[in-house]
Amino acid sequence: MKRNDIFRFLPIIITSIGLTAGCGAHLSKVEMGDKAVDVGADKSGGKNIVAVPDEKVVTEDVKTSGMGAKGSAAAKDYKSLGANDELTKTARESGTLYTIHFDYDKFNIREDDKPLLTKNAQWLNINPAVKVRIEGYADERGESEYNLALGDKRARSVERYLEDMGIIKDRLATISYGEERPVDPGHNEDAWAKNRRAEFKIAN
């Protein structure tokens, strides 16, 4: 990499370091086209991170970690549901709303989660510019394709619930990750219960 290239990319690097600091995004591997280049063992003290030729890739790293840091200036202006409103705090800090959970091999909304979904819907009502992505997940048991379809059903079940509460469909998107990306990597009932979930990610 030539020296002037380093300067050309420097603003991007600084930006990405700023965005990724403390949010778990890792830059040990950078992407060039469709090939991963390991710079983890680089002896230049990390300077070769500059070798990232594609701004987009670094941006994606931040996005996939789901951090609120990427949120627009409008993020600071979220309307609150009132004093001691945890939800607005969560939205500001992590770009998420309340996560809800499911029973084994089920996609119906549990009674104990309905108040949380109602809160999410109320919050979306007073923040009409916000769009959310509902992510459906399954626990690791069973088969990965079935779990993908199950996560899809869970996400869509939550989407319908919010639509029924008056949130227009244009503000809602769904994605299923199936058994991928568990919040708890354990192989026990506690971990599985945590992983059977639908997350709300603020998408704009």
């Binding site: 591997k29 469709d34 069973g142 088969e143 990965s144 394709e145 079935y146 059903k153 769904t174 994605i175």
Partner: protein
């Protein structure tokens, strides 16, 4: 079953009289209830390179190791352990006339393998002969040339020839296995040889990559990937490296499987308009989708019957995941009649895999929804037989000759790939060196 040795001369005579006839006449009848193994001695291979390369020792070791793997895997041979040095390898000849077969018979070897190899820069030539020690004749002699970086591959080619010579059937030694591992940080697709060796990563997109499957000609694979955000189905041409999107409908596009004629792809789509995920067929020539299922349940993991007329799949319309079979021919007449449920016991039945010979469907089933085992059943759902009992065993995939099943298992802790015979015997762990290997897909016969 092996013919008794006194019958062997007749068979040899036929081989030498007519090469074309030879294919139909076999030494070992694999359809017999039990196969008596041949005793084979393997002579140490000799380096006949004009100039001995620094890699000579490594190459020799890899050649012998691969031959040993193939011979054991074939199920046709018992290797005579003391056979390595009956003759001085540096002086022994490959010509049948110069071999003292009596010495080999004394140590119990019915048959004998000898080989020489030669390295020329990055090219390796291997010549291997297979002899019948009883009749003191050569049965097979082959010479292969290929990359010196992968000596094992040349042995696999030889093993295919040897297997076909002895059984009249194609060998699987040059086939490959696709699988998924998250060892790089995210789930990516890998490909290894049938024995797990020479595993290499073939996707590098750092999203989530799942469900690799082969095209019937073995030239392409399809897989599910999140590299564009939502799960879409992509194809990767293994010869050119060209990667292309196959299905990117809104919602989930997962688990594509080529029809046996390669013209259609069965998959699961989760279109917003559908009540839930449904099975679809995509005509790869016209780009037209047709819907196969229409219910409130989850419908996933299609597996084609080898004649292309039926699809086994997993559905939870019965309450929990079970295996159903859909008759594509009868579909237009009567939807109810076209759909038949195959599994009725256990809590969770998944991953049906129709054997290439059409005789069995393998699947992963669980009594408690946690621990899975591999089963086989007939395509009508009868004759369910459990093949595994140790660890968590999932995602069976058949060898193209229908003799073996590869699957993932946690029996040694970390998830690894294992191969077993279709009756559950001869379990072998694949040493891919990758780790956490899942959802294997065994290739068809490759050119």
């Amino acid at each position: 079953m092996i013919r008794a040795s006194r019958c062997v001369p007749v068979f040899f005579a036929l081989f030498f009289l007519s090469i074309t006839e030879a294919r139909a006449r076999v030494y070992i009848d694999l359809s017999a209830p039990s196969v008596k193994k041949l005793q084979v001695a393997v002579q140490e291979f000799r380096d006949v390179s004009p100039v001995t390369s620094v890699d000579s020792g490594r190459i020799k070791k890899e050649l012998i190791d691969a031959l040993d793997t193939d011979l054991r895997f074939s199920g046709l041979f018992t290797i005579t352990e003391s056979g390595a040095n009956i003759e001085d390898p540096s002086k022994s000849s490959l010509e049948p006339d110069a071999i003292n077969f009596k010495n080999w018979r004394v140590i119990g070897a019915d048959t004998l393998l000898k080989g020489v190899y030669s390295v020329d820069k990055d090219r390796l030539t291997v010549e291997i002969r297979f002899y019948d020690c009883v009749n003191e004749k050569q049965v097979l002699g082959k010479r292969f040339t290929g990359a010196a970086s992968n000596p094992r591959r040349l042995i696999h080619y030889f093993s295919d020839h040897l297997y076909e010579e002895l059984t009249g059937r194609k060998g699987v030694f040059t086939t490959k296995i696709l699988f998924v591992s998250d060892r790089s940080g995210e789930k990516e697709i890998y490909m290894s040889e049938y024995d797990g060796m020479n595993a290499r990563r073939i996707t590098f997109n750092r999203s989530i990559n799942l469900s690799p499957h082969w095209s019937p000609d073995g030239n392409r694979i399809v897989y599910t990937s999140y590299k564009k955000g939502q799960p879409h189905i992509f194809s990767l041409d293994l010869r050119t490296g060209k990667d292309a999107v196959v299905s990117e409908k809104a919602g989930i596009n997962i688990g594509g499987r080529f029809s046996p004629d390669g013209r259609r792809l069965a998959m699961t789509l989760g279109l917003g308009a559908d009540k839930s995920s449904e099975l679809y067929l995509l005509d790869l020539e016209t780009g037209q989708y047709s819907k196969l299922t229409d219910n409130y349940g989850i419908d996933v993991s299609p597996s084609w019957s080898p004649d292309g007329n039926k699809i086994a799949f997993v559905s939870d319309i019965s309450g929990n995941p079970n295996i159903f079979v859909l008759d594509l021919e009868g579909k237009s007449d009567n939807k109810q009649k076209a759909l038949k449920r195959l599994t009725f016991s256990g809590k969770y039945n998944s991953s049906p895999a129709w054997s290439p010979d059409g005789r069995l469907i393998a699947f992963a089933g669980s009594e408690n929804g946690r621990t899975f085992n591999i089963f086989v059943m007939r395509p009508d759902g009868d004759g369910i037989t459990q093949l595994t009992s140790d660890g968590n065993n999932k995602n069976p995939s058949w060898s193209p000759d229908s003799r073996f099943i590869v699957f993932s298992s946690t029996r040694k802790g970390i998830t690894s790939l294992y191969i077993m015979q279709s009756d559950g015997g001869g379990l072998t762990r694949l040493q891919t060196g990758v780790g956490n290997e899942k959802t294997p897909a065994w290739s068809p016969f490759l050119e």
